[in-house]
Amino acid sequence: MRYLMRRIIFYVVAFVATITINFFLPRAMPGNPAEALMSKFGGRLNPLALKSIEIAFGLHEHEPIWNQYLQYLGQLLHGNLGTSLAYYPASVSGLIGTALPWTLFLVGLSTIISFVIGIIIGSISAWRFGGAFDTFMSTFFTFTYAFPYFWIALACLYLIGYLWGVFPISGAYSMDLVPNLSVSFVFNVIRHAILPSLTIIFTSVGYWAVNMRNTTITTLAEDYVTMAEAKGITLRRILLRYAGRNAILPNITGFAMSMGFIVGGAILTEIVFSYPGLGNLLFQAVQQEDYPLIQGILMIISFSVLAANFVADVTYSLLDPRVRVGGNQ
């Protein structure tokens, strides 16, 4: 348990550092949101308007930066991430709250499916090292992994979605439907998710498969796997408890990292398929220089990366007894 406590303290410190940087970074940039809005109108606004926009955004009072920082922390504690400029007067937390579930659903599920398929195929490849299956899969996955994502996404969108019309090409559900929990709505959501999800899986499964194949090949050469064979242990046990259990360890970290980045959304996917997730929202926010929204999304992303790493630490310590240094013995 001492190990877990140390990790928790580390993550708390890391999170405080993140929100602090998140506060100071936009303020270190030249200009302010009012000026950004002014420049959008390309001088067609009266300079006096700048003054009134600044007052409206609360930028006219030049409070000391430390006061602003403390206010910011106070607001964060109340879950208040401010008001969006681009979607004024919607609150940032409200916007994130609507987009986040879609991203978690689409990217999260795709990542998990991709990981599971990759791990299984990678293990089989390693066991049949040098065989036909392995040769084909290794080549195929190196190819898919190296594929430019935007190209495959656009090609799928055009061919499968537009020309053949098998799957819808944009959105998370049909525009004429009201979100509810009926079977037909859920079915509609799944139909919309298939195309973006397939493109994510297609380009990411190779990463897991190739990694798992390599770690398994290394593990198979370990003495304890050879000895397990000498002991007449059943193939299923050797595969799962001796080879697989040890070979998957390095992949857990990679998986947790990517779980953290899920929240950031597969920005390209969400843009290409106009999916109403967090990645799309971030893209819009950046385009419209919506600082509070950018700040809010970045905070959510860094929080989830930290959280995912924490989960990885805990899982890793459960799977690998050697990590439980000074643990509960």
Binding site: G130, D223, T226, A230, G232, I233, R237, N246, D320
Partner: protein
């Protein structure tokens, strides 16, 4: 096969696959192990002695290499068995203590689960009985039962090797192969482990194939000794017969160890030259380029595995063994 023969290896060969094609690392290896006997197998690194151990237990993966010849374990030819029949024999009739016990235990499982994996794989599912058996074995190798709840990284090298020995004795096998079981240990722990092995072997009467590069250790603990060089067995015989070995390589090996009780800076004679490259071995006798007694014929004729006789079933692979003057190995001329 003679009544009291546990293992008979006949014309065993092993190839390893390399980028430039298969290379022969073990060739024409034939020997027997009798019931309750310790056979020591000595040789330099790369002589093929560990490969013999792996071939005898069919641990050479088809992706890595291939083997041929006969390996009779009592009345079953291990070299010919299919996977399924093989799995049932493994560990019940022949078990192994590996080169480095450090790495022969699964790092993520407790010792008791590793015992359990073996027992369950061989159809023994009674938890209480299994646990009792583990306790019995672990205490037999002078460890406390708490070791069962430990992970491998929590044990010292000597403790891990004791655990490995306990595991090897799980099903009372007829033959235990020990592949340099003490190489990774310091001399004091090595002595403890060796005397532990001797004690258990006397108590249970299993046979041992003890592989080591330490000929001196083998001469102290084994009943018979075999010498390997460049993939071939060069000589086999009883420990007594090895006080006057017949093969020039055996003699050279004996001379390269300091005699026990030697005083002062006694000069040891090394063997000039290097072991043969298995990808490009010398013709004829593998040892002839380094042999002080080699003649022209040694470079062209492959010597036979010739029976000398005697109570150790002494055999030697040298065309000149009759001609070479006999000398004592203890002298330091």
């Amino acid at each position: 096969m003679a009544e009291n023969t546990i293992l008979r290896v006949d014309s065993l060969w092993v190839d390893y696959y390399t980028r430039s094609g298969p290379i022969r690392v073990v060739q024409d290896v034939s020997f027997e192990i009798r019931r309750g006997e310790i056979l020591g197998l000595a040789g330099e690194s790369g002589s093929g002695k560990s490969t013999v151990a792996q071939a005898v237990t069919r641990l050479i993966r088809p992706t890595v290499g291939r083997m041929g010849g006969d390996v009779w374990l009592q009345d079953e030819n291990i070299a010919q068995l299919d996977r399924k029949a093989l799995r049932h024999i493994k560990w019940k009739k022949v078990s192994i203590v590996a080169q480095s016990a450090m790495n022969s235990l699964n790092p993520v499982l407790r010792i008791r689960s590793q015992f359990d994996d073996i027992l369950q794989s061989h159809g023994q599912r009674n938890r209480q009985k299994n646990f009792a058996r583990m306790r019995e074995l672990i205490e037999m190798v002078s460890l406390s039962a708490e070791v069962l709840d430990a992970f491998p990284h929590q044990l010292s090298g000597g403790m891990k090797q004791r655990v490995a020995i306990a595991m090897a004795l799980l099903f009372h096998p007829d033959l235990v192969i020990m592949d340099e079981p003490t190489t990774a240990l310091d001399v004091i722990v090595e002595r403890e482990i060796v005397s532990e092995i001797k004690r258990l072997q006397r108590e249970f009467g299993f046979s041992v194939l003890f592989i080591s590069h330490d000929l001196d250790l083998l001469l102290r603990m084994a009943d018979r000794v075999a010498i390997m060089y460049g993939g071939y067995l060069m000589e086999i015989g009883s420990v007594q017969e090895f006080t006057h070995p017949l093969h020039p390589y055996s003699r050279a090996l004996l001379h390269s160890f300091p005699a026990i009780g030697a005083v002062g800076a006694e000069r040891r004679r090394g063997i000039p030259g290097y072991p043969p490259d298995p990808a490009n071995p010398p013709g004829g006798c593998r040892f002839h380029p380094r042999c002080p007694h080699s003649s022209e014929r040694c470079g062209s004729d492959l010597p036979l595995w010739e029976a000398v006789g005697g109570k150790g079933d002494q055999r030697v692979r040298c065309i000149r063994w009759r001609e070479i003057p006999n000398e004592s190995h203890t002298g330091s001329d």
